[in-house]
Symmetry: C2
Subunit: 342 residues, 2 copies
DNA sequence: CTGTTAGCGCATTCAA
DNA sequence: TTGAATGCGCTAACAG
């Protein structure tokens, strides 16, 4: 493998000149630059990443603390990871995977101290996340995907649950719906302080209140079977129900099953809207589910950008940045059916 | 950040002694070792990854060429990636993501030359894959996930399509089925030489012949709608059909829809078996689909192990290693219905 | 605009 | 069983 010294010799210049030609950190006479580039080409020179990192004290690597579970049905995590990897590459960084769970804060600290990464992206943060504490103590730049309890001075990117839910309700209200139910994640997750479940629940109540409507929400285990039961329960509690918003992909399949079982047509009798879904789930049902899918790729890009901001500025420009989900029309939304007076 | 020199000073030994205490490459007197470890602890020492790599000429990094697309519905890619990352860590390696497509062989070569990775895992290889050529030319150890056309001397891990299909057919035959159809990926993918589609098609014909049965196979675009059409077509071609094997997740949803539409009960009238699926898709349908899911995690671990074999041995022990899919019982398989004589 | 040189932090050879 | 010294390949002062 050719080194910078080989190139320098070939081109008849000093190593520093080659180095500066590489970095552009100081002006080089065009002809000299030409000669150097020609030599590099001839020798197939690629700068050694390790030597460069050691000398410059910057690894040009971003670590991604990768979540334990994919998210059930779809590819949101995959989208996020790929987008983050691509954006990193565009910016001259590599993305390494650190498969650590919440409990492995010590391992995170140790790896961080090895200087393998200039900064860290942390997926699936929980409300009280030791990994974040450790990174702050070690002065390692990071960006959270999701948010801890204290979010004021911590850089993060996340889904804008408020805006997402508000748009969902607004859309349904625009279609004439007034009796709208929300199917959330499981009670365990809510109790555990799982951010999306908690935030969406609050947002739903607020959005409904904002439209002068009565909120009707249920926690629901992540399974079609329980989704079916919950749907039955909802219909019993509120016979005038004309729309169901779900933030639980597996449960949504159960919603469909129960409605079909009862001979309720989608969307004629009941409209269904899946929010914060993976892309591509809408097409799995018949009629195709209208969704507001999670902006995985955008979040991936944004997280990298926010981290690189810190690496250059050393500052935390915006504590947190939120992106709403995007409405992906399917065939499961329609005008509210005329209510038989109840 | 403490360096090895700090530790040496603290412990009253030389730098090399600390280094050897770290690597274990030569004997150290127990008390000395104790003292060194105590110093390391006190200083929170972690060896600098870049310096170590530069000096030892081994990066302790594995690169994963990460595919462009997740695979539709489920999390097989995610499983693979996580398992590979975890296995790498267990073995003292880090996993970096290289988001390169088939056409970016040159970029692969350049990154490889930067010495950032000791070896490469290549996902989604195609039958003629330039990335593999480039890695061979650059003498970079690699393992393919999937197989190129020439597979004899190239280390790879892959799904054992022969065994998977054979087991699937055997299972169905054991249930009395004799008229079994196979729904493959799209014709485009087959024509493009997409390994799984080609290999499974061959395996199906062979397995059916082995049981003295007439093969009935169809290519099918990756969508529920087309899956439905193909199912209708199959039922028209062979009214005695009692079982359908699918290797196309989205199409499977269409199979269910068409069967239900015709009042054909699963599995009473027709059994359905999804092969090479992602884990977790079985539960999305009603009745739950019986699947043979792709061994993503096993492949991830195995791919890393095979690569590390090369890094230590320098040899390629087994050219390719195949793992069959695992039967995950659902509720979509039953005995063949008694045929009305046709 | 270009060259010389001192490290970056560690592994490893050579000596003792 | 341990220490001293060299160099991995590059960056970035410092000097011209």
């Amino acid at each position: 493998m050719a080194t910078i010294a080989d190139v320098a010799r070939e081109a008849g210049v000093s190593v520093s000149t080659v180095s500066y030609a590489l970095s552009g950190a100081r002006p080089i006479r065009p002809e000299t630059r030409e000669r150097i580039q020609e030599s590099m080409r001839r020798l197939g020179f690629q700068p050694n990443a390790m030597a460069r990192s050691l000398a410059s004290r910057r690894s040009k690597v971003i670590a991604l603390i990768y979540p334990q579970f994919g998210d059930g049905v779809g590819g949101t995590v995959g989208e996020f990871v790929r987008a983050a990897a691509e954006r990193s590459r565009e910016q001259g960084y590599q993305l390494v995977l650190w498969p650590f769970e919440v409990g492995q804060a010590k391992e995170v600290r140790n790896l961080a101290r090895q200087g393998m990464a200039d900064g860290v992206l942390v997926m699936e943060v929980v409300l009280d996340d030791q990994r974040i504490d450790v990174l702050e103590a070690a002065q390692v730049p990071y960006v959270m995907i999701g948010r801890t309890r204290d979010v004021q001075h911590r850089p993060s990117v996340d889904i804008d649950f408020d805006a997402t839910v508000e748009r969902a309700i607004e859309h349904l209200v625009g279609l004439g719906h007034r009796h709208i139910a929300f199917i959330n994640h499981s009670q365990e997750r809510i109790d555990a302080g799982y951010g999306p479940a908690v935030r969406a629940a609050v947002a739903f109540d607020r959005a409904m209140a904002g439209h002068g409507l009565e909120p009707l929400a249920r926690a629901c285990a992540e399974s079609p079977v329980v989704g079916r039961e919950v749907t039955a329960d909802l219909l019993a509690s509120e016979p005038r129900l004309t729309a169901i918003v779900t933030m639980n992909e597996l449960a949504t399949f159960g919603v469909y099953a129960e409605l079909q079982h009862r001979g309720l047509a989608i969307p004629h009798d009941v409209s269904v809207l899946g929010i914060v879904t993976s892309p591509g789930v809408g097409v799995l049902t018949y009629p195709p589910l209208s969704t507001m899918h999670a902006p995985g790729a955008e979040l991936g890009r944004l997280a990298v950008d926010r981290l690189l901001d810190q690496l250059s500025d050393g500052r935390h420009p915006l504590p947190n940045q939120l992106i709403p989900c995007v409405l992906e029309p399917g065939m499961s939304l329609g005008p509210a059916r005329t209510e038989p007076d109840a």
